[in-house]
Subunit: 406 residues, 2 copies
């Protein structure tokens, strides 16, 4: 049986970048750039004052105080009209362009104007070095510089930077369409009251939300009963998406038709079963028909097994399809708050509450009733990753943890 | 001047919960529950098998192997029709209800069927304790139990749990409407080429995106020139929202009309200026007119000052308005990768790249050209929080950091 690392390599190998689309910068939030973004301007676009005050020639401040003639006032958004010459100064606001001739800005707090003499200013400042309180044109970015590289995820700061360099729209990787259905005769929709032997379909809504958070476009195909024709119809529909995500029907029971039907539909099996707990029977395959590639994931039907399979394999695949480099779920470290006995040849993913403490992060393993126990899972901030093998962990031991998306 | 902690207390005091609305569970993703959610079922709803195998009476497995008569097969979604009596067993699939009379499940791997004798099964298993491989009805949740409390943020797991307990819609706090505009005669929209003295409005798009990520509904009011009438019109429009967020116009320059106009419009000033760097001139006030309360934030015009003000005050306010408890930006710890000299009486928020290492998180202070340098800011994962006061930090020193939303 594959290790999780080997399984992740298999998934990574099957990712192919999707087409590119153009969106407004507002809609680019959370998307991945598919082009390098060059600046069309210098930034700042001119030498500018970083304070309110007076643009002066530093050489004029030979003694303190000194009185200078005020030429004009330059506010942000305006341009100076006269050069500063010896004995003169220009009143200047934060962000405004520095006039020619001036090489420093005296802060307004170190100046005084004289009643009835608006053309004069008394500057009582220690000597200023040339360049003081001036931000030079182009120090942050030159025209033609690449401001942002393809592959960058767009956050609020990147949207600000895109606006600064004149972009109102941008090329990003298309979001993958992810079709989701749950299989099993025992399933009823959430608005039905389950009869004996039945349970509500909780995986469907949970996985659709997880797809959205991972950056995919969820497509809800509902519930597929354990019936060859119905399952084949749903699978065929789902295979027109970029990812087909099913839960249930991949363990070894008599009604587990899923892997068989997928093969019939031309899906090449890449792996079935991974050495993880919960979630061992996870199925992964690929179909490629006339240039359209679909990744197919079959997750076990138990909610937690399904969730672990999503977090480990499906989420990373969706993010990579969305243009980011493929990467396994990111982990942090935390100290266990309680002892934990790990057994068995499968890596275990165990729900935990994660809290920050002055000594770093703590992970509290939750009292969990097993993989159908969504209620306890909902108290978890993420999963502890216990590697395969027997080990008695003590309270305080450091473990790897991954967080659920908020 | 206020400390950041005192300023945060002022903001927290002005938060009042918004009205509640009903949304589908799919639309509840990221929202905050405004009701306790009781379960309408036991979970699991019946004693159920956690493996594929045979439901048996544990007392029957007195020797190994032992042959039992197979009564029937119960698949998931079906109900048993006969009790298991001494000498009999029922074939059972994972998730299916356990028949009366049976008190353990023998795993299918430890059984054999005999060719031509479908009514018999040979079980070669060590003795089974009563309850083995059975998940008891109601262990995770009893009918009437509160599955989720009001105040919980809805993630994928909560959506699964809501579906499990029969909810297709749910009451959540309304999202605050947040009107945003930037002020300054120097500003032009991003699709204009700035003339001398002008810069593009990067704060507007950046803050609108930040509002979305914090859970608010952004309303774009564009650019307000430094003109009393125009600013008054935009402010009046913005005051009909739950939050009015402005950038620019709050420092001490001659055209800084914002605080004056806000007072004229009946906004009560709560604070102006906080001991932070960048972002000192941040302005906060509240207007309450015929029961409608609007929080008003004036952020400095420099992009980084504006961003720091958002991260420290506006984001927490939006999240609290959205139903979550008020909390300052959450911090983690990290070790500096380089020395850093901190000066001055203001707490500093400094852009840094954050990376995980086996020894914990590292924070690399970026070579930053000051608060207009969005390009360097875009390389940052978050901000280092340096407390006020002189201190020479050495590489390896532990500092607090906050992460930007992805």
């Amino acid at each position: 049986m594959l290790t999780v690392e080997a399984a992740l390599e298999h998934v990574a190998r099957e990712i192919q970048p999707l087409a590119v689309e153009v969106v407004t910068i507002a809609d680019a939030l959370g998307r991945v750039l598919a082009e390098d973004i060059a600046s069309d301007i210098d930034s700042p676009p001119h030498d500018k004052s970083v304070v309110d005050g007076y643009a002066v020639r530093a050489a004029d401040l030979v003694s303190r105080p000194i009185t200078l003639t005020v030429l004009e006032e330059v506010v942000a958004g305006a341009a100076p009209t006269q050069p500063v010459t010896p004995g003169t100064a220009t009143r200047i606001m934060t962000g405004a362009p520095v006039p020619d001739g001036a090489d420093a800005i005296a802060m307004v707090e170190q100046t005084q104007t004289l009643a009835g003499e608006p053309q004069r200013v008394v500057i009582d400042s220690p000597p200023l070095a040339a360049g003081r309180n001036i931000l030079r044109r182009g120090v942050s970015m030159r025209q033609g510089d690449i401001a942002l590289r393809a592959g960058r995820t767009v956050r609020h700061v990147e949207i600000g930077l895109l606006a600064e360099v004149g972009r109102t729209s941008v090329r990003v990787a298309r979001q993958p369409r992810v079709a989701v259905f749950s299989t099993g005769n025992e399933l009823v929709p959430p608005d039905n009251l389950p009869a004996i032997g039945q349970i509500r379909n909780s995986n469907g809504p949970m996985l659709l939300a997880a797809v959205r958070r991972a950056g995919g476009l969820p497509i809800d195909l509902g519930i597929g009963l354990d019936d060859r024709d119905e399952l084949r119809r749903l699978m065929a529909e789902g295979l027109s998406s970029d990812v087909l995500l099913m839960s249930g029907g991949v363990s070894a029971g008599v009604l587990d038709l899923v892997p068989d039907l997928l093969r019939e539909l031309g899906v090449r099996e890449v792996f079935h079963k991974v050495r993880i707990k919960p979630g061992k029977p996870v199925w992964f395959g690929v179909r490629e028909v006339s240039g359209h590639r679909t990744l197919v994931f079959g997750l076990p039907g138990n909610p937690a097994s399904s969730l672990v399979g999503f977090e480990l394999f499906v989420g990373p695949a969706i993010r990579a399809f969305s243009g980011a480099p493929f990467s396994p779920p990111s982990t942090e470290t935390a100290r266990l708050t309680a002892a934990f006995e790990h057994r068995g040849e499968r890596a275990t993913y165990y729900p935990a509450r994660l809290t920050r403490s002055p000594d770093g992060q703590l992970a509290e393993p939750l009292a969990w009733q097993g993989s159908a126990d969504l209620r306890t899972l909902s108290l978890a901030d993420g999963l502890i990753h216990f590697p395969a093998g027997e080990r008695l962990y003590a309270a305080g031991d450091v473990v790897a943890v991954s967080r659920f998306a908020q």
